[in-house]
């Protein structure tokens, strides 16, 4: 029984999705480095009792995961990396 994978042609849709999510991902990581000190500061503020800042790392984790996850998934798809058995 043959085991196949999908064709290696890159559709416009995949290319556009990769570029859009890639750009969004780069923007997010740039922001992470620009505000790096503020994020460290927030953690120390939490330790001092300002518990409202707890939401920040949780939201960052969710947003980064969705955006960067979508980017890497499209990226490997575009590169034609597919499972086979």
């Amino acid at each position: 029984m043959p085991n196949l994978r999908s064709g290696s042609r890159v559709s416009h849709r995949t290319l556009i999705s990769t570029l859009v999510f890639g750009a969004a991902s780069v923007a997010l990581y740039l922001a992470l480095f620009v505000f790096s000190n503020d994020l460290t500061e927030m953690a120390s503020l939490v330790r001092q009792g300002h518990k409202g800042y707890v939401a920040v790392p949780i939201l960052i984790a969710l947003v980064f995961s969705f955006i960067h996850g979508a980017f890497t998934s499209h990226f490997w798809d575009m590169m034609g990396l597919k499972a086979r058995k």
């Binding site: 029984m1 994020l39 330790r47 949780i58 995961s65």
Partner: protein
């Protein structure tokens, strides 16, 4: 109390964290387990305090678990209720585990938590790594469990657990249709959570406990574990964040590398033998264990639990530990990349050979490279089946139609693979492949008995519709036959998204067969609006009616608001189609109705006791389909008879 220190983010540490995340992700995808057992020690080696390493690891993991759980729920592999209940108890375990960590930190300082985490790592990795190594060796000798065909037999422990009846505590685990007392889940959940809070790898307990205590199949256990990982990961991250221990910068840099790596690892497993995966897994675990082992004397010395060691000795031991961990990461990365490179090279050669073989007959017989066949060519069918009750009718009717048309049938079944399936593990993936192959062999047997030539294909992928379309293109199929609805959830309420996408994007015709449909050649309803798509549908309906000697009713519908102006035109359209079909020798009548197109067509189909509706498709997808709407889709949602969607024009 010692305060938590975050490391400085320099270019070197950022690149190192990204690479650690990348390798950790690869390892996690390859061995089918959380990569935290690599990531946590690696972060500690870089100078990150143990509590921050565990907390930051948790924060990068829970959103990945959410996405994975969501995707695998679409395949019906997740029991959300069980996952949430286990997750809540695991949360209790996380709270206990986290308190233990904080207590140790407050009492002994960071070095105390480093020692505690390292000790737990050494013990857990020794047990799990040893078991995996034993499995791998047994498998190489051909003795492993995974070599046996998949079986649904329960372990004696699971039978006993399921026999426990405590009124008021029983939980219905829908996915296996069994009742389990939630009292059993308490210790399992707590143990999972405690381990997660200590080394950020709860799955080492969660997955086996659901398999052996509750009797969940491995595939469902690993999928349901993603729900537990999300619930306890979210809760754990909040708890650690409340303590100011989550360094979100580290989490996100690790995440950046990990998401790139996990896909490579998961795909790498499909190119190597099972025991190779297990050997690599065991080797990495034991190397990580060894690396942690070298730090322990230093921690013990710092805490004065052993006679003080000289600084030079501690430094040497730490350097050996760093070197061992570095070697473990390098070893894992090289093994996986090598497997992937070899596999891809071999696969390219096979694919090229197959494509040549597939295209040649198509070119010879038709003279066209494309697969567009609005004029009723029925030589090559692609039947998509997931083995569920929703595709049973498609299998039956697809086979019947292939028999009537003398077509060659290709049947495909999708085995889910990809990054979010990293937790599947090689043996589970193998079971899935075995089940899909067995199902396809059944269909091949039925087709053979009916005298239909049939080939089967197990396809790996993540998105069902994309794989179906890709396969149809590869085979230059004339017709795709598939069921109407998805397996679970919202998909039951409406046309399955995969079916809608296939109809929207396929270049060939699509036959959608709802669960209760039987195509017996009673009556065909042909919907027309005078467009070139409808003309293509008329040609196909004529071909089908001629082959099966079936009467046809041609229906066209006008909007009541502009009925007066358009009725005459519409009647002309219907008469043109009726005349054409009559010339083809088909028994045909025409109808022009007022109202909503889909409702009128469904009504005529009911009145005529039709077993097939033929429609042309405008091929709208995405936003256009949402804005303009699709009559075809509404017909599919409202009728219980099969719908033949003709792609033409």
């Amino acid at each position: 109390m010692e305060s938590v220190q975050f490391i400085d983010l320099t270019t070197t540490s950022t690149v190192a964290l990204f690479l650690v995340g990348f390798v950790g992700g690869m390892v996690s995808g390859f061995i089918g387990s959380g990569g935290a057992f690599v990531l946590t020690p690696a972060m500690m080696t870089m100078g990150v305090p143990a509590i921050v390493a565990v907390a930051s690891n948790m924060a990068h993991k829970f959103p990945k678990a959410l996405v994975g759980a969501y995707k695998r729920n679409k395949y019906g592999q997740v029991d959300v209720k069980l996952g949430v209940v286990m997750g809540i108890f695991a949360e209790v375990g996380v709270i206990i585990g986290k308190h233990v960590m904080v207590h140790i930190r407050e009492t002994f300082g960071t070095v105390g938590t480093n020692l505690y985490v390292s000790f737990v790592f050494v013990v857990v990795l020794a047990i799990v790594g040893g078991l995996v190594l034993r499995d791998g060796m047994a498998e190489k000798r051909g003795l492993a469990e995974t070599q046996k065909p998949p079986t649904n037999e329960l372990t004696p422990l699971a039978r006993w657990v399921r026999s426990i009846r405590v009124p008021g505590t029983m939980l219905h685990v829908k996915i296996i249709d069994a009742h389990v007392s939630f009292l059993v889940l308490i210790p399992l959940g707590i143990a999972t959570g405690m381990l997660a809070a200590t080394i950020a790898v709860g799955g080492f307990i969660g997955v086996p406990s659901m398999m052996y205590f509750i009797g969940l199949p491995a595939l469902m256990a690993s999928a349901t574990e993603l729900v537990i990982a999300f619930v306890m990961g979210l809760g754990g991250s909040i708890l650690y964040a409340l303590d100011g221990s989550v360094d979100i910068r580290l989490s996100m840099i690790i995440l950046a590398g990990s998401l790139f790596g996990i896909q490579i690892g998961a795909i790498g497993t499909t190119y190597v033998k099972d025991y190779v995966v297990k050997f690599v897994m065991a080797a990495i675990m034991l190397l990580v264990l060894a690396s942690r082992f070298f730090y322990i004397p230093g921690y013990l010395s710092d805490l004065r639990l052993i006679p003080a060691l000289e600084k030079g000795t501690i430094k040497t031991l730490n350097a050996v530990g760093d070197g061992t961990l570095g070697f473990a990461l390098l070893f894992g990365a090289v093994m996986i990349l090598q497997a992937l490179y070899r596999g891809i090279r071999e696969h390219r050669q096979t694919t090229e050979a197959m494509e040549t073989a597939t295209l040649t007959p198509a070119l010879a017989s038709v003279g066209l490279v494309g697969q567009l066949s609005p004029f009723g060519r029925f030589e090559r069918f692609l039947l998509a089946s997931d083995g569920s009750e929703f595709s049973a009718a498609a299998v039956r009717e697809g086979t019947n139609m292939a028999k009537r048309c003398g077509s060659h049938m290709h049947v495909m079944s999708l085995v889910a693979s990809g990054a979010e399936y990293g937790g599947l593990g090689e043996s589970i993936l193998k079971q899935e492949i075995a089940m899909a192959s067995a199902h396809l062999d059944d269909i091949k047997g039925q087709a053979g008995a009916a005298g239909v030539a049939c080939e089967t294909h197990v396809v790996h992928g993540q998105v069902v519709d994309r794989e179906i379309l890709s396969m149809a293109e590869k085979l230059t199929a004339d017709l795709i036959v598939m069921g109407r609805r998805g397996r679970r959830g919202l998909a039951r309420m409406m046309l399955g998204q995969a079916t809608a996408n296939v109809i929207g994007r396929a270049n060939c015709n699509v036959l959608v067969v709802p669960r209760a449909a039987h195509i017996e050649g009673r009556h065909i309803v042909l919907a027309t609006d005078g467009s070139r798509y409808a003309d293509a549908a008329a040609l196909t309906a004529g071909e089908l009616a001629r082959r099966c000697n079936t009467p046809v009713t041609v229906v066209s519908v006008v909007n009541p608001e502009d009925a007066a102006g358009r009725r005459a035109d519409t009647e002309q359209i219907v008469n043109r189609v009726v005349k054409h079909l009559a010339n083809e020798g088909v028994k045909v009548e025409g109808r022009v109705l007022e109202g909503r197109a889909d409702a009128c067509i469904i009504e005529v189909a009911q009145e005529k006791n039709a077993d097939l509706i033929v429609v042309g498709s405008h091929g709208r997808t995405g936003l256009e389909r949402i804005l303009v709407g699709s009559t075809t889709e509404r017909i599919l949602n409202g009728t219980s008879c099969a719908v033949f969607v003709v792609k033409g024009g």
